[in-house]
């Protein structure tokens, strides 16, 4: 007798438990589902996630004059004296600058014309991806950690349905215009909604206007966030650039409200075979 694999029994859907805190001026939300969704292990992991994000803020905040990055920018601290994390973030920023043909840059034109060091375009995704690793020790527990709309999904629950991630409509943040199912991966969105003119095209210093938002789905949040920001900064060139990025999918919303999906080339020989 032959079994149709699609007819296997499914597990009941488990409840999702949520926590929210505000760190670095942004909301950090955690959704947990499974064995350690509400116990002391979950509490401990959540505390570690928040502590990790606060540590990052102390090192990288451009709003804190005493942060490592602020002191580095003012020349009070030598790069050699910075923590290894600073080197890691700067290296990522440089890689993103090269790969985005200069549209993304951690050194952006400041008010006085001097280029100021602002690695926040790298730090957010990188920090959340890093903090989310703590959650992997919660056995048989699915987690989804979101910080200001950028998120990391993990599934560890046998029979997990995965996470369903809505993509916010940039014209109306109370609505979604796409849904992406994610088991293990990250989703980042870049746009101008809610935060004024934050993203600039580093080549011109101008605020990009061609796109309303860029959402990137990738294996890790560091690159999902970098790519979303870079593509947004690239403006009209963003969609074509994204389609050449390996292992990414996502949604681009144009300034006129038109939404389009994209998917880059596969990342590995195995993926190509399955595709």
């Amino acid at each position: 007798m032959t079994t149709d694999l699609r007819a296997l029994p499914s597990l009941p859907v488990m409840p999702v438990h949520r926590r929210v805190e505000h760190v670095m001026g942004m909301p950090v939300s955690l959704a947990l589902r499974g064995r350690h969704a509400v116990d002391h292990e979950a509490d401990a992991a959540w505390a570690e996630v928040l502590a990790a994000l606060r540590d990052v803020d102390r090192v990288f905040s451009t709003y804190r004059p005493d942060s490592v990055v602020s002191r580095l920018d003012r020349g009070e601290l030598a790069l050699a004296d910075c923590p290894t994390e600073v080197h890691e973030v700067l290296a990522l920023g440089e890689q993103a600058r090269q790969e985005s043909r200069g549209a993304f840059d951690v050194r952006r034109p400041g008010p006085s014309g001097r280029r100021v060091l602002d690695p926040s375009g790298v730090v957010k995704g990188w920090a959340v991806e890093r903090a989310a690793r703590v959650l992997e020790r919660l056995r048989a527990t699915d987690s989804c950690l979101s910080a200001g709309g950028d998120l990391v999904c993990r599934t560890a629950l046998p029979g997990s349905p995965g996470w369903r991630i809505g993509v916010e409509d940039p014209a109306d943040p109370s609505r979604v215009l796409a849904v992406v199912p994610v088991r293990d991966g990250a989703v980042a969105t870049s746009g101008l909604a809610h935060r004024g003119d934050h993203v600039v095209d580093a080549r011109s210093g101008e605020v990009p206007r061609a796109l309303a938002s860029v959402t990137v789905v990738a294996p890790d949040l560091t690159w999902a966030d970098l790519d979303a920001t870079a593509a947004f900064a690239l403006g009209a060139d963003g969609p074509a650039w994204l389609r050449a990025r390996p292992g990414r999918t996502g949604v681009v919303v144009h300034a006129d409200g038109r939404a389009e999906r994209f998917s880059g080339p596969s990342r590995s020989p195995r993926a190509r075979r399955c595709g």
Binding site: L5, P27, G149, G166, V167, E168, T189, V217, R270
Partner: protein
């Protein structure tokens, strides 16, 4: 039966099935989505399972003209232990039997690590979209107050 065989033959490589359950179910989805729907994470997890999968055929039995049956080893996957048996006749796969089922639910299209986003016909509210979290440019705590994620968080607390 014919439908099932067709399903198995067209969408699942038995070798892949032996390798790991998550891979086998990636097949049907991958067939309907562009290549990038497959992720590195999936590839990684199946790659590690591949070492056990390669030892798939452990026992062979069955007749000659009616085909032979090959029983795979029990393979541990992220969805639980999986063991399958295949029947081959005249060099062609004629049947697959699952001796040990994983506890996962393969009906989920989300079985892939992540997939191509699904665009809604028009923007919808969170409830209609049945979502767990929202990705958006809602960065500041001020913006969060009116955001959809806030509503989701409140609903879950």
């Amino acid at each position: 039966m014919r439908r099932i065989s067709a399903f198995v033959l067209s969408t699942i490589s038995v070798v892949v099935l032996l390798f790991g359950y998550s891979t086998s179910t990636a097949g049907p989805l991958a067939a309907t989505t562009p290549p990038a729907a497959e992720s590195g994470t999936t590839a990684g997890s199946t790659g590690s399972a591949g070492s056990t999968g390669s030892a798939g055929s452990t026992s062979t039995s069955g007749g000659t003209s009616s085909g032979s049956t090959v029983t795979g080893q029990v393979v541990s996957t992220r969805w639980g232990p999986v063991q399958v048996e295949i029947t081959v006749a005249d060099g062609r796969l004629t049947g697959v039997q699952v001796l040990q089922q994983p506890t996962g639910n393969p009906k989920d299209e989300e079985i892939n690590a992540y997939a191509l986003p699904i665009l809604t016909q028009e923007s919808v509210d969170a409830q209609s979209a049945d979502i767990d979290m929202v990705s958006g440019a809602t960065v500041t705590s001020e913006g969060y107050v009116s955001s959809l994620q806030s509503a989701l968080d409140q609903a879950g607390l």
